[in-house]
């Protein structure tokens, strides 16, 4: 039993390191080679955990090999166009200028019902409102609406809103995130000023958010 525990821990740590090294691409939508790698990793990793007769090397070696191959391949694909064409799916235009392309749908094996379902998930109910609908290599559907159907932008309505950027989580559960603080373009002196103005200490704060426009939101930790 001790062996099972040690093997599980080792393989778990190795998988974490492997997925971390392979990057965010593995966690998001997957290309073909990435999907294959992820499936294989999980199968290979479980072998020596469930079967004690199998040496640990039977998992370590394939995991390291798959990781190295996947990273190498993802590094090579942008540099070698024919390899990318061979290994990656190409985007396919399913709707062009409001008209579904039947041949493209047949080639992608997407039925009309599936297309309508995907459009509804994008809050689109009428294909005629779509300028382009593109089936991406990772299986997602990108929908670009026709100009009259697109939501008006601030510029189009003549508004001039302040750029607020994103909200940075400066304090989380009482702990200060120095990286978020510097990303927000702020420093400790500023933070201490904000907390002092509200008579709070960092440990008393559940969430403190600040955006690039200077807006600050503070959620104290105590229920009040």
């Amino acid at each position: 039993m001790v062996t099972i525990l040690v093997r599980t821990l080792l393989i778990y740590l190795l998988l974490i390191f492997t997925m971390r090294f392979m990057g965010k691409r593995q966690l998001g939508e997957l290309e073909v080679s990435e999907l294959v790698t992820t499936l294989l990793l999980s199968e290979v990793a479980s072998l020596p955990i469930t079967n004690q007769d199998i040496p640990l090397a039977y998992a370590l070696l394939p995991i390291l090999t798959l990781m190295a191959l996947e990273v190498l391949l993802s590094g090579l694909l942008p540099e070698v166009p024919w390899l990318k064409r061979l290994l990656s799916n190409r985007p396919t235009i399913l709707i062009r200028h409001g008209k579904p392309d039947r041949n493209a749908m047949l080639k992608s094996r997407i039925s009309a019902e599936e297309l309508m379902s995907q459009l509804r998930l994008k809050d689109v109910t009428d294909p005629a409102a779509v300028e382009y609908a593109i089936a991406e290599p990772n299986g997602q559907l990108s929908v670009i609406l026709r100009a009259p159907e697109q939501p008006a932008t601030a510029r189009e309505v003549g508004a001039d809103p302040t750029e607020t950027g994103i909200m940075h989580l400066i304090i989380s559960d009482g702990r200060i995130n120095q990286r978020s603080l510097s990303l927000a373009g702020r420093d400790m002196a500023w933070l201490e000023g904000v907390l002092a103005s509200r008579s709070l200490r960092a440990e008393d704060v559940f969430m403190l958010l600040a955006d690039d426009g200077g807006q600050v939101r503070v959620l104290p930790g105590s229920a009040s």
Binding site: P55, A57, L64, V71, G75
Partner: protein, 123 residues
């Protein structure tokens, strides 16, 4: 780019380890194969001593061998060797001794099977 370089390095390391392990396993199992092949044809004290040497060799190499060879295969060789030694010490059943010796030889052959690139192994 850096990640690709590290990946290439890891791949080279893995290949190097595999080749190194193959050389070690083939060499060790080759020695044990020779020991199994040179076992006496008839049971007796000499045969028992020879089998004991084989078992000792297996015990010494078991840790490193176990990194890449299934425990079931190693255990099978040990069980057959122990059984063969018992027949050798007993000395009364030459047929059983001969049969056990052949089985031991076949089991030793299995130890390094995965270190050869053969279609049969891959399939």
């Amino acid at each position: 780019m850096r990640a690709a370089l590290i990946a290439a390095l890891v791949l080279c390391l893995v290949v190097g380890l595999v080749i190194g392990n193959a050389v070690y396993v083939r060499g060790t199992v080759g020695d044990m194969r020779d020991m199994a092949d040179s076992l006496p044809e008839t049971p007796g004290a000499e045969a028992a001593d020879a089998v004991s040497l084989l078992i000792d060799r297996l015990d010494r190499e078991e840790t490193l061998l176990g990194l890449s060879v299934c425990f079931t295969l190693i255990d099978r060789v040990r069980e057959l060797a122990v059984s063969l030694r018992a027949y050798a010490q007993d000395g009364s059943d030459a047929a059983a001794y001969a049969s056990a010796r052949e089985m031991l030889r076949a089991a030793v052959d299995d130890l390094d099977r995965l270190e050869y690139v053969r279609l049969r192994n891959i399939m």
